[in-house]
């Protein structure tokens, strides 16, 4: 199974992420999102960033996780490449994101992902593992 695939809507774009565990599907959704923003192969994992999120339910937690990463990208000009979730509960998440600051000489920015939305948001477990679907505002 691929870690994620791209889904498309008229005005926007989204990700369908897969994972053997819920933790993995959260991580892969983040990888998928940054693959839309820039070429992952060109991002170095020079820095790490601790992330802690709380939300009222699992769906909101997924949206908040991705919105937290968008906030880091937009406010601190970071490109993130890999993610390790250390602890994932129904309403709280703790993890680390690895990446570096944007360097215009090395990084092409392809899509301006502005927000993760609740539209058609899905996170579910089926016999093959976990699937999450999320649409981004660009």
């Amino acid at each position: 199974m691929p870690p994620f695939e791209i889904i498309e809507h008229t005005a926007d774009i989204g990700i369908r992420a897969f994972g053997a565990s819920e933790t993995e599907v959260f991580e892969n959704a983040a990888v998928g999102m940054f693959s839309l923003i820039s070429d992952l192969e060109k991002i170095r994992e020079d820095n790490d960033f601790n992330i802690e999120i709380e939300a009222e339910d699992r769906e909101t937690l997924l949206v908040e996780w991705l919105n937290e990463l968008i906030y880091l990208y937009d406010s601190q000009e970071l490109l993130l490449k890999s993610f390790r979730i250390a602890s994932l509960k129904e309403t709280a998440l703790r993890g680390i994101a690895y990446g570096e600051h944007i360097d215009p000489s090395r990084h092409d920015l392809n899509a301006d992902i502005r927000a993760a939305t609740y539209h058609m948001l899905k996170i579910k477990k089926d016999p093959d593992g976990w699937i999450a679907e999320i649409i981004f505002d660009v």
Partner: protein, 459 residues
Amino acid sequence: MLVPGRVFADRSFIERADEEKALDQVRNVACLPGIEMASLAMPDIHWGYGFAIGGVAAFRMEDGVISPGGVGYDIACGVRLIRTNLLAAEVMGTVPSLINELYGRIPAGVGRHGDIRLNQKEMSQLLMKGAPWVIEQGFGRREDIEAMEDGGVLEGADPAMVSSRAIERGFGQPGTLGAGNHFIEVQLVDEIYDEKAAEAYGVFKGQLCIMAHSGSRGLGHQVCSEYIKIMGGAASRAGIELPDRQLACAPIQSREGREYYAAMACAVNFARTNRQVMTHLIRESFEYVFRMSAEKLGLDLVYDVSHNLAKFEEHGGEGEKKRLCVHRKGATRSFPAGHPEVPARYRSVGQPVIVPGDMGTASYLLKGTEKAMAESFGSTCHGAGRVMGRRAARKVINGHELKARLEARGITVRTGKTSALAEEAPEAYKDIDKVVAVCHEVGLSLKVARLRPMGVIKG
């Protein structure tokens, strides 16, 4: 449904809206508490999150709701038109250097930050006082203030309701264009439909104008995201059942409702300031290229409209006036002649409505009408509306070929990323002429002038 859904469109637009389920979205909005008259959509309707884009919905103050999803992520995204004293035909050869100069001065594209850095205190002032504040700081003329919806500042803004994260996202971004469908165009007025209104707006055939389309950047998106989360809880506490979480809303008079309005107003003020700073940079670019003062060149602001916002307005006939919270998500205010909100200098003809098209065709200057007041809470269309997804567009259109095609037609194009240009190709949008024609025939706005691009800057 508490009220009917009403879409102003021709058959092809309706069929398309139905196909992409935008009509279901109009119906969902018609179920929200306190909605007045009808859940409306303009001819440029297309699928959005929760609320359709092109949607207009007004809610009663006493039992209605306010919804961040009904405003959209890019709060107060909008357009402004600047006129010059120049004849396009006489300065045709200068357009490429003008575009280069504008491109050099106005940061455009994904993640680009500007040179204007504000401190915490200045940011608070900006969020509270909007475009007039930045004009006081030297970024514009006093006359610009009157030529903006609400005089460039939406009352009721409270920076304390904007999170530090939203403010952080806004710090480097005043005077930056952003990416996506945002643009700056040097345009030629190629058709006048209404001489009297055109004269009042200072627009004439053959004139060179500049149009800027941008919004509240990262700050507005952060405000929207955070309040959708807050309101998800507020809606369920108020006993409102949501068919779609993107419709998250709260009673207008509730704490969450009031706080969202105060934060949204800050983002509105940020967007207008952003376009004002851009106007200043546009004037500087012209002065540099033409070696002449901006005043001599004209460069007067015709008007500035926002097409993603919620506002408190009075609607209804004499004796039955009601104060409503009007949400316009991809719709433009279209107030008629004589309305007190229309600037004095335009009051005899009506409010200027600016409708940006795609970069290959045209944009329009329209005027507001009484019909709009009666039928659509004083609203009309906001643009062409997408018909093709961004990636789909990239698959069928080559950015480099598109650039060549536009340049063969005399349109100078500058963009940070040529491959991304394909996403904004004319084929990816509805026919703007048809959208504007429907509004004209229905009478939601009337045509004043058409503007054709000569040079385009895309993020």
